[in-house]
């Protein structure tokens, strides 16, 4: 992508917003305005992308692409949801209940399926990744926290054990903090690169 205009626009808008965030006492009303613009533009981008998705699948149906049954399902469910919502109104309780009745069991079923997949994943981790400090500590930690999370044993009545257990439960915070700081530094550099226009000037 060797287009310079988006890079320049990104740099200017980014720097202005950064300055506006820094001097919020003076720029608060303008900051809100620009963020509103961003919300509108990203919403339009989403509408454009959805329109493109539907048009692509209509084309798949027309040309009879392999697996176009999926495209029919997508277009029909999209149009049904859109037309019904337009006719009944977005705030209609029956419409919202209908959407919920379809989406919630689907998402719950997916989460349940993921639980089963995770179980099989955990069993084969040593076969796939071998034995290392990372895999051994991962395995031991998963076993320990699974045992603690199940809550079969209560340690409230034993003061010494209670302290040890509560300390053990705080151990993941150490790794999480180190990882979060590293990831945040990486993200910061990536954000700065976008502002300085380096993102598109790479080889």
């Amino acid at each position: 992508m060797k287009q310079r205009t988006p890079v320049i626009v990104a740099a200017i808008s980014g720097f202005i917003l950064l300055a506006a965030f820094l001097f919020q006492e003076f720029t608060a009303p303008y900051l809100g305005l620009v963020l509103n613009w961003a919300i509108i533009v990203s919403s339009v981008a989403l509408l454009v992308a959805i329109a493109s998705l539907v048009v692509t699948h209509i084309r798949f149906i027309v040309i009879g692409r392999k697996g176009f049954l999926y495209s029919i399902v997508l277009v029909v469910s999209f149009l049904a949801t859109l037309i019904l919502g337009w006719y009944l109104g977005l705030d209609d309780p029956d419409y919202l209940e209908g959407i919920r009745t379809v989406l919630v069991p689907l998402e719950n079923a997916l989460m349940g399926l993921i639980a089963l997949i995770l179980m099989s994943g955990a069993v084969k981790i040593f076969r796939v990744r071998g034995w290392s400090i990372l895999t051994v500590s991962f395995g031991l930690s998963a076993l320990l926290f699974l045992f603690l999370n199940l809550g079969f044993l209560r340690f409230d009545s034993i003061p010494g054990v209670n302290v040890i257990v509560s300390n053990l439960q705080r151990l993941p915070i150490i790794g999480a903090r180190g990882l979060l700081i590293g990831v945040a530094l990486g993200a910061l550099l990536m954000g700065l690169q976008v502002l300085f226009g380096q993102e598109v000037m790479r080889e």
Binding site: L46, V48, L69, A115, F138, G175, L192
Partner: protein, 224 residues
């Protein structure tokens, strides 16, 4: 329960059972369920965006002409038109302008978010654990607090150095970085512990969803 409610409930049940057909290696029924999810969520999102964002935030302010707010509303409208142009001309260069604007705003928000929202609070919480008041209780050393503070500092520094990038030549020299290797090993223990705990948290969430789904099946069976 009305017939429509019953039909919707049945549709939800059938779709969710289609999801579990994945376990049998079936991708057709699973794919149908997934594309239904895509279609329904896309249709619903279009309505929400049009009625809750585009109309009130982009179109309505235009009715205030010739006030300043109406003129200001023209800016996102113009950017939106440039973006919509992309639908008709996929290769449009002008569509890069609104996308560049979004990229810049996102980058700025990211910089502020990660520094003020992640880096500063995390760093301060590590340093604040060394507050002398937290290291003593009733005039005596609070050994748990002292141990925790030092462990946190050592652990975080070790985790940071797990990702220290080394030159290709130096990596092949087994003895040149023994202190870094030791630190890295120590850090890996904490990363493994964190990943294990996150993994169990995710597994527990999935298990709760699975139990809720089984309950949903039982409730459905109870209708008869």
């Amino acid at each position: 329960m009305s017939t429509v409610d019953l039909l919707l409930l049945l549709a939800g049940l059938v779709l969710s059972l289609m999801v579990f057909s994945y376990l049998l290696g079936d991708t057709l029924l699973f794919g149908i369920a997934m594309y239904t999810l895509v279609g329904v969520s896309a249709g619903f999102t279009v309505l929400v965006l049009l009625q809750k964002v585009i109309l009130p935030m982009a179109i309505s302010p235009l009715s205030a002409f010739p006030q300043t707010s109406a003129f200001l509303a023209l800016v996102p409208l113009l950017l939106s038109v440039l973006l919509i142009w992309m639908l008709f001309k996929k290769t449009s260069r002008v569509s890069g302008i609104p996308l560049g604007f979004l990229g810049g705003v996102t980058a700025a928000a990211l910089i502020i978010g990660v520094t003020r929202g992640t880096l500063v609070p995390q760093l301060l919480s590590i340093v604040n654990a060394f507050d002398p008041n937290k290291m003593t209780s009733a005039g005596l050393p609070n050994w748990t607090g002292i141990f925790e503070a030092f462990m946190m500092l050592a652990g975080v520094v070790a985790v940071l150095f797990v990702f220290h990038h080394q030159k290709v030549k130096k990596q092949k020299d087994a003895f040149s970085n023994s202190w870094l290797d030791g630190l890295t090993g120590f850090g890996q223990v904490f990363i493994g512990i964190t990943f294990g705990a996150i993994f169990v948290g995710l597994f527990s969430t999935g298990l709760v969803a699975l139990i809720a789904y089984i309950q949903y099946l039982v409730d459905f069976a109870g209708l008869w």
